[in-house]
């Protein structure tokens, strides 16, 4: 099964994957959520997950991020103290890691923001959660991060309700990245946005990923998004990974019939 011979700590640390996923599976009763998913994600790498609606992308992402308990498999993350299986890890530790080493950008900003809390409070929450207790410092960092996602500093005390959809999404990104995570999970981050707003957000994301050396796993049904952001691509169908490889290779020379269909249907648009 490849589980036992998986290398947990290869001798060359520079080559160690940030995330090693093996045989991950999640059922919803009789229905397959996702099954037999295995891949490695290396530091600084962006992995795109594509597939039609219902193919298991969100289920997989939730299992990876610890929001859903998988039925089987391993999700080994390279922590500061070495590789750890986050599936079997104590919940307290997993949640702590989710606040420090990981970030999760939801499709709907409402799921990722506190709508009743100011922009500054939204960005500052993760800092306070890991012990920041100096108001001036927290605020300075919030202003810095608002700037990095192109939100004017004078909006710091406004609530997200007063923001446009694109701004809310950028605020969600700032709120997630303020603690300098290593790995960002994104579920359809440009989903509900206008095309022009999407482009700007993608540009911003690409810049941040490069600048911070982030690793990212981005779920989308939009091949243009992965073309722009993802180094590697995984194609899902009925809960299974049917094809994976370098993004350009998969998109330009799809091997699996389903991928061919997916790519051609996009080209026709």
């Amino acid at each position: 099964m490849g589980v036992m011979d998986m290398k947990l700590a290869p001798p060359d640390q520079a080559e160690a994957p940030l995330l090693s996923v093996r045989d991950l599976g999640k059922m919803y009763g009789e229905r397959i959520g996702c099954a037999d998913v295995s891949f490695d994600l290396y530091p600084g790498e962006v992995l795109g997950i594509v597939g039609e609606s219902g193919s298991g992308k969100s289920t997989l992402l939730s299992c990876l991020a610890g929001h859903l308990q998988p039925d089987q498999g391993q999700v080994v993350f390279q922590t500061a103290t070495g590789p750890r299986d986050t599936v079997t890890m104590a919940e307290a530790e997993r949640r702590r890691m989710a606040r420090t080493d990981w970030a999760f950008v939801h499709q709907n900003p409402r799921d990722g923001l506190r709508m009743g809390v100011s922009a500054g409070g939204n960005v500052g929450e993760r800092l306070m959660a890991i012990g920041a207790r100096h108001y001036g410092d927290i605020r300075a960092q919030a202003i810095d991060w608002l700037g990095r996602v192109e939100i004017r500093p004078d909006r710091i005390d406004d609530r997200p309700r007063a923001f446009s959809g694109g701004m809310q999404q950028r605020l969600q990104i700032a709120r997630n990245l303020v603690t300098g995570p290593k790995l960002v999970f994104m579920d359809e981050p440009t989903g509900g946005l206008d095309v022009s707003v999407q482009a700007r957000l993608l540009d911003l994301l690409r810049g941040l990923v490069r600048e911070m050396g982030l690793s990212a796993i981005i779920v989308t049904h939009d091949l243009a998004v992965v073309r722009l952001l993802a180094d590697r691509l995984m194609v899902m169908k009925d809960g299974h990974v049917v094809e994976q490889g370098l993004t350009d290779q998969v998109l330009d020379d799809p091997q699996h019939a389903y991928t061919q269909l997916l790519v051609s249907s996009v080209l026709q648009v």
Partner: protein, 289 residues
């Protein structure tokens, strides 16, 4: 005389036993909210049904009971609860803080330092300090379990961002024994320092929300704050107009239609005691109430 239609202190023994177990659990895990099966009481929620049930479970025939509302013994709420226990338990009552073995309170801690053997019972409307920002009970429980208290700090951050300072003046959140974050009930933050290191047992009862929590004697209780916005136990910058006290919590009282006002101790027993001892404020009359 006890009204024979009721069991001692109204509640039946089995219910009192259940509440006592919740109290003991609360004392064993300071600041932790213990669920309990709150009973219907012959008074509406919001009138301190949680506190009344805790008091009922603690009372013995030998006890002397004091009841205060906003520091005063003579307000409607305090009078009715006091009468309730006189009728159902036949216990002695007092207005003197030092003479009471059990004090039930709404919104204040007495000024007079409590001593070993005394029990202070707080009436609590909303026991969950995280409720304000996280309405999901499953999630707030998880936050307590995992000591995820960043959100509590966000509330204080929002205060400073909006008002330039921590504007929370009542129900100011505290951390107990370095572990649980707790709502001290809507006492003024002026009273927060009295929560810590008290020789008395402090019990908190929330009737509608069905929660009991506790501070055993000499618990370490710290008010949350920021390094650059430290907690301050503020009060009106006046002396009591009646007894001259400069270190007690004051109520502002409107004295006439022309907008005249004065500041007086909210703790009526404390104020009366000082006046009986000869202390006089600007408008004070010796010995009068």
């Amino acid at each position: 005389m006890t009204d024979q239609a009721y069991n001692f202190a109204y509640l039946d023994e089995q219910t009192k036993g259940m509440i006592r177990r919740a109290i003991l659990k609360g004392l064993a895990v300071p600041g932790y909210q213990v669920p309990f099966a709150s009973r219907e009481m012959p008074m509406p929620y919001g009138w301190g049904t949680g506190g009344v049930q805790v008091t009922a479970a603690c009372l013995t025939p030998e006890d002397t009971l004091k009841v205060i509302d906003q520091g005063a013994d003579d307000t409607t709420n305090a009078v009715s609860i006091r009468k309730f226990f006189q009728r159902t338990a036949g216990v002695a009552v007092t207005e003197a803080t030092t003479e009471a073995s059990i004090i039930q309170t709404r919104h204040r801690i007495p000024e007079t330092t409590l001593s070993a053997g005394q029990i202070l019972v707080y009436q609590v409307p909303i026991p969950e300090p995280l409720r304000f920002l996280e309405p999901r009970e499953t999630e707030t429980r998880k936050m307590h379990e995992l000591e995820e208290y960043g959100l509590m700090q966000v509330k204080l951050y929002e205060d400073i961002a909006r008002h330039g300072q921590i504007a929370t003046a009542y129900a100011y959140p505290v951390r107990v024994e370095g572990r649980y974050v707790m709502d001290p009930s809507p006492i003024p933050k002026f009273d927060n320092p009295k929560l810590s290191g008290s020789a008395a047992i402090q019990l908190f009862g929330a009737g509608r929300e069905q929660r009991i929590y506790a501070l055993p004697p000499y618990s370490d209780v710290v008010s949350l704050d920021f390094d650059d916005h430290p907690f301050t136990a503020s009060k009106a910058a006046h002396d009591c107009a009646l007894c001259g006290a400069s270190d007690s919590y004051l109520d502002e009282v409107i004295t006439d239609d022309a907008g005249g006002r004065m500041f007086v101790c909210s703790d009526t027993d404390f104020c009366g005691g000082r006046r009986a001892g000869g202390h006089l404020g600007a408008l004070g009359v010796a010995g009068a109430l």
